[in-house]
Every structure is written in C-alpha cells, then in structure tokens.
Amino acid sequence: MIDLEFIINTVSLGSLYALLSLGLVFVYGILKLVNFAYGEYIMVAGYAMHVIGQNRGIPWYVTMAVAVLFAAVVSYGTELVAFRPVRTKSLTAMLVTSFAVSVFLQNVVLITISPRARAVPLPAFFSQTLTLGTATIPVRNLVIIGTTIVLLIGLTFVMKRTVLGIAMRAAADKFTTTRLMGVPANLVISATFIISGLLAGVVAIFWVGRSASVDPLIGAAPLLIAFIATVMGGMHSQIGAVIGGFVYGLLFNILSIMLPATMISYRDAFMFVIVILFLLFRPEGIWRGGYTEERVG
C-alpha cells in the first residue's frame, strides 16, 4: 500500500497544500487576519487562464505567468481598496471585510463571465503519466513537487537575506516597533498581500489543473484546506503552515487508502474530526512558537 506511488502522490499533495497554507499564513502573520478572500485569488487566477487560453496562439507558460501575476495584482488591489481603510479598526471589521471581498469577487465573475464552469486549456503534460518501475505517476505531481521546492527556497532567501524579508519577519513579531525602525507599515503589508497572491496564483495552476475547469466557487475548497492545515501545523509561523500542509496531505491520502469504499465520501468528516482533536489537545498546532499576537493599530 505504501509504495513509491503513494509517497510521490502524498508529497505532491502535501506540497500543494503547503503552498496554499503558506499564502494564508503570510497575511495572518502580519495582520492577524484570516483572509477569507484568499480562495478568490485562486479563482481569479483560474479565470485569467480561461480568458487568456481562448487565444490559442499564446504559449501555456505565458498564460500561467500572467495568471500568477494577476492573482498577485488582485490580492494587492484588495489590500489597497478594502483592507487598508479598515486596518486600524477592529479585527472583526477586517474579518467582515474579507468576507465582503470574497463575495464581491465571486459575483464579479458570476456576472461578467458565467455562473457555470468554464474550460481552462492546459499543456499536454498536465494529463500525462510517467512509469517508474511499477508506479504510475502523473507528471503534474512531479511538477508540483519541483515548483514547491523552488518556491520554498526562493521565499526562504527573500525572508532571510533581503531587508524587506527581515522587516516582514520583524513586523509579524512586533509591528509598531518595526515602524519605529523606519519601515513603512504600508510597504510591509502590501508585500505580504503580493506574496500571498503569488502563492495563490501558483496553487491555482495546479488546482485548476485537476479538472481543467474553473467556476466562481472554486476558491471555497482550497480556502478551507488552507485554514485546516494551518490550524494543524500552527498559525504563528510560516514553518508551521508548511508542516500543516504536508500533514494534511499525508492524513488525507492515508484516509483515502484506509477507509472502506463505502466510507470514502466521509473523508472530509474524518479530517474535521482530526482538526477538532487538534483544537482540543494542541490548539497551538504542531509547530509551537513563532510570533506574538500584537495587532496592527
């Protein structure tokens, strides 16, 4: 049961969820806000691929790059227009704003494009498989693992070696003190939204890649997964988010092979039970520590 195929597929699923959770935790770290509009950044990237994909002349990698950038731009835009004006208000105001942004973005595509699912053209290798010994592995899964490794190394470099990254880590710990160093609050917050959007965009490629279609509500499932994974892994650090993503992927795949066929549709219910157990017995998540709870004010 636990063979090469299982391992690669689990690492691949875990990688995708790790990126997903990381994007959510980046914003949470600075603003202490669970951004419920995060799933919609994934959705808009999917629609960007759908729209650009209409034009057959544009190569797939250009489509994907534009979609990822588009998610980052939309994320940054929501920060400017929706979150910045309420930033110094209560956390509740921020939460409600994130719901509003989510509903707004869903309705924009509902009205301007269609309530129904739309096809997203993908390169051929997304549906090809590779045979390694006895294992049959989708090429897409290997691409996810590769992409995740590159992104995690890149993000680590940015956070450890650049001044902006150091400032972002400092701001997640002590926001006001970071401003006292001369670091502009807006710069740090915008940067986190842009990184969060970029991660959502990358996730979108692979999320949409499973079904090759996109619909207005496609963001709901990944948002939930990111939220659950960060609760398990630990909301207070980026390492926690990555761990949570991998643990989620592992538990999910274990449930998939362990549960009898009649119970497989209750897989999500089992995941929720695990989350409840976490909340009861280890509410801080697997990875303790990280930054404090000082809010932006």
């Binding site: 001044v163 150091i166 880590r169 400092a170 006001t176 006292l180 001369g182 670091v183």
Partner: protein, 244 residues
C-alpha cells in the same frame, strides 16, 4: 532642538497628558521623571508618532512633527529605545541591527557603523549571529540601544533603560548613556529610577498625572522634591510632594 508645547494626549476617553511642555537643546541630556502612569511613555509615544496627540505642537529642528507617522519621525532623526527593550526576539542580533539602520541606510557607512557598535558593545559582536531572544536582559538592552543608534539619530530617547536590570547592569547602562552624551548625542531619558538618572542629566522634568510638576536642574529638583516619593511611588502613586 525638540520643543513640545501644550501637549494633550488620550487613550480613548482617558486623557493621559494635560498640556505638557518641554524643550531639549542640542547636546543636552534631559531626564523625564515620574512614577508609573505619570505620562512619561505617553509623551514619548506622541513624539515618535505612535500616538496621535489630541492637541498641542511638537517641533523638531524647527519642523512640526505632531501627527507624523513613526516611520517618518525616525527618518527625521528621532530614535527611540522602547520600554521593555522590544528587540526582535526571533531575529538575529545582526538582523536587529540591520533594521535599526533601515531609516537612514547608506551602504558605504553601514560597516563602519557596525564596527562602532561593536566597540561600544563588544558582547554584540560575540552574539552577532544569535537570535535576539536568547540574549540576557542586559544584553538585550544593549542591543536595543545599539539598534537605535544605527539610524544615526540626532535625538536619542530611552524609555526606562534600567527596568528589570541588575544593579551592576544598571550601572553599566547608565555609564554608557553618559558616555553617549559625552560623544555629543542629544538624549531624552525617561526613568523611574530618579536618583540614578539625576546623576547624569543636565536638566530634568517631573511629570505627575499627565502634567508637569517641576522642571529644573538636578540640584534644584533634589532640593524641592522628595526624590524617594518619586522613586518609590510613595503612598499615593500619582502625586509627589513638592516643598516650595
């Protein structure tokens, strides 16, 4: 250099400062004394822009800075060593110092500034790659001061630098503040440890319940005010007796 006039500040409905005025000339070292809750930290927060004053003016080098953001006041040359050190615990000493230099960063002089900090605080060189949170209280205080100095401030403000430190470490920190002043740094020192602070300052202001109670030289202050009541808080925490 810094002139605060008729400053009012409040936290919601609670007014913390009722018309405070103070002045610091270039090269001076001035203490702002008072018990807990007298409004010392509130005054510093207003000057740095962390707290928006309700009323009053704050001018620095002839420019109005009330209602400025914290990030812009540090660029102007006011640097704060916050109460309780407030170093970035998960960042290394190196990263803490790098952020300290953020406001007025110049690549060419960054290395020399670092070397200067190592001379002032040799311990920071030893601990350069360690997380700030792993340092002892006294070392953290040194890091907080060094971090503030990295922005090459024209005015250095220290909020309770001796808080929670051993007597020996307190001596060391006060010697250091004194040394910084002798090198020409203008300093505003906020202290509860009035006795100790008065040994090193040119002038002092005494705050009580959000208003100025007294201002003058340390000698004048010692003559007119019962220092023990300022230092220990006395029976009633808000007022210290002034014998005029």
């Amino acid at each position: 250099m810094l002139k605060v006039q008729d400053l009012y500040a409040s936290y919601g409905a609670i007014t913390a400062l009722h018309g405070v005025s103070l002045e610091i000339a270039e090269g001076e070292i001035v203490a702002l004394l008072g018990v807990n809750g007298a409004g010392k930290s509130t005054t510093l927060k207003s000057i740095t822009g962390v707290l928006r004053p309700v009323k009053g003016s704050i001018t620095f080098l002839g420019e109005e800075i009330a209602n400025r953001s914290p990030e812009s006041t540090v660029k102007k040359g006011i640097s704060l060593v916050p109460e309780g050190r407030d170093i970035f615990g998960s960042l290394t000493v190196e990263e803490n110092l790098r952020l300290g230099a953020y406001a007025n960063y110049e690549r060419a002089r960054y290395k020399t500034d670092l070397e200067e900090m190592f001379q002032l605080f040799p311990i920071l060189k030893e601990r350069f790659h360690q997380a700030g949170g792993l340092l002892s209280g006294g070392e953290q205080q040194m890091l907080a001061i060094a971090r503030a100095l990295m922005s090459r401030p024209k005015l250095l403000m220290l909020d309770e630098p001796s808080l929670g430190l051993s007597p020996a470490m307190t001596d060391q920190i006060f010697d250091l503040i004194s040394g910084l002043h002798q090198r020409g740094t203008t300093i505003l020192l906020v202290e509860q440890n009035a006795e100790r602070a008065l040994e090193i300052v040119d002038r002092a202001y005494l705050l009580a319940t959000g208003s100025l109670e007294f201002s003058g030289t340390p000698d004048e202050l010692k003559r007119k005010v019962d220092i023990a009541s300022v230092y220990l808080g006395g029976d009633d925490n808000d007022h210290c007796e002034v014998h005029l």
